[in-house]
């Protein structure tokens, strides 16, 4: 890694309003508070095992206005949402919520990782992340557990209703 030349970044492509866009998104309100101390990165379980994810770097990129780079990146999807940084951040930046805010913007811009798209499809098909059909209920009955009913139709309805009216922008 250290031998690779640093890529040259064209600052004219930066969007100075990106931080405001994030701050206007629920969960992203506190992004401007970050003073880049790195407490988040120091305790991050994902950052602890891979260079691919570094929360301080992502927040800094967002503050600089690197909108395209942030939204199209894989790294915003690598937060495990463990809330370790949320507890420790001296500036209350609330990074897991901030990542959700950035992910929501990325999705609206058409950047949706396959894994997350599939989860929503499964929710729509079964109302849950895992199917509970006859086989599963027979297995449950063998262990003396009551059947579980799928509620796919109502969950589809709920997911559709969330996209309607005010707040669906």
């Amino acid at each position: 890694m250290a031998d690779e030349p640093e890529p040259i970044i064209d600052v004219s492509s930066f969007d100075p309003h990106f931080r405001d866009e994030i701050a206007a998104e629920p969960g992203g309100e506190n992004i401007r508070r970050c003073f880049s101390c790195g407490t988040c990165t120091a305790g991050c379980p994902v950052g602890g095992v891979t260079d691919k994810y570094n929360p301080r770097r992502i927040v800094h990129m967002a503050l600089l206005g690197m909108r395209q780079q942030v939204l199209s990146s894989d790294f915003v999807w690598l937060c495990s949402v463990c809330y370790t940084c949320y507890e420790r951040c001296p500036q209350d930046v609330r990074i897991p919520e901030l990542m959700t805010a950035v992910r929501n913007i990325a999705v609206r811009e058409g950047y949706v990782p396959q894994a997350f798209r599939l989860q929503i499809e499964t929710l729509r098909a079964h109302g849950r992340l895992l199917e509970v059909g006859d086989y599963e209920n027979e297995r449950r009955a063998e262990h003396g557990l009551p059947p579980v009913r799928e509620t796919a139709e109502e969950v589809c309805r709920i997911l559709d209703l969330a996209e309607t009216g005010e707040g669906s922008e």
């Binding site: 994902v46 999807w77 009551p146 309805r157």
Partner: protein
């Protein structure tokens, strides 16, 4: 007797039958009545990255179903606990969100008024049943065994949701619950570490590397098993243990038990009665 709505979520009723079997068993012994509520679906956690309002609405629908029956919720999955508690907190804090939710719930014949309390099963055991009653329920001597606690993330964090019932940086509740069974508590390096489950579907290699760290630490501490309270953590440490072993040319054979299984054994239930047949890594020393 206390009555609660039992919220199973997605993973427990399909991949965590041992957890559900044991939880129902020990709850009945402790006079906690668990009611199955028709219509509970996913908590909304997986919808949040796509559209957080969709996640909020899914959570609110489940809360409304419990409220309609006048019941508080007991959860088994920590991610469900976090999602439902957070939604509940938000809907009580921000009136306009409650209105937004109710304008939509109305269309499926429901309403939510913000009155349901959500608590993890382990927290109810710790806070409501209490350690003393748990100790009194124990009939089998487990003092020859040592277990390491895995708290996971959403059971404790973000802490502002959980009324300070335990300290997220130095938690004690699960350790005390383990000790209440008569077993020894085994501490290990980096106890607060996440299981990595949150990124399994997106980056398996990185997720399993996070999982590996705890398997290493718990093994080094010489525990007879890892005790946890979340089905997704169990998938990482138990169902995926062999994958970590083959990827890193190592061997753990570390038994992973859900806390209600350990408590159930201490209460004198047979291994079958607490679903141990469904555990992949058999706690052979414990069963002897």
């Amino acid at each position: 007797m206390s009555r609660y709505a039992l919220y199973l979520g997605c993973t427990v009723p399909v991949r965590g039958l041992n957890y559900e079997i044991a939880a129902r068993r020990v709850a009945a012994r402790l006079d906690l009545e668990l009611v199955d509520v028709e219509g509970f679906a996913c908590c909304g956690f997986p919808a949040r990255p796509m559209n957080w309002r969709a996640g909020l609405l899914m959570a609110a629908r489940n809360l409304a179903l419990a409220e309609a029956q006048g019941l508080d919720i007991i959860t088994l999955c920590s991610a469900c606990t976090g999602t439902l508690t957070e939604a509940n907190w938000r809907l009580n804090e921000e009136r306009h969100l409650l209105d937004w939710v109710n304008r939509r719930l109305e269309k499926i014949g429901q309403a939510y008024h913000g009155t349901v309390r959500v608590r993890h099963f382990a927290r109810v055991l710790y806070e409501e049943v209490g350690l003393e009653r748990l100790r009194q329920s124990v009939t089998v001597d487990l003092s020859g065994f040592g277990f390491a606690p895995h708290y996971g993330c959403h059971y404790l964090k973000p802490s502002h949701l959980y009324d300070g019932f335990d300290d997220p940086e130095n938690p004690v509740s699960l350790g005390r619950l383990i000790e209440a069974t008569g077993a020894r508590l085994v501490h290990y390096e980096d106890e607060g570490q996440c299981c990595g489950g949150g990124i399994l579907s997106f980056d398996e290699g990185t997720a399993l590397l996070i999982t590996k760290q705890k398997l290493d630490h718990v093994t080094a501490a010489g525990a007879d098993g890892l005790v946890l309270i979340c089905p997704f953590c169990a998938i990482m440490y138990e169902a995926n243990q062999r994958r970590v072993e083959s990827a890193y040319q190592t061997e753990y054979k570390l038994p992973v038990l859900y806390y209600p299984q350990l408590l159930g054994l201490a209460m004198g239930f047979s291994p079958d009665e607490v679903g141990l047949r469904l555990n992949r890594v058999k706690p052979t020393r414990l069963l002897r």
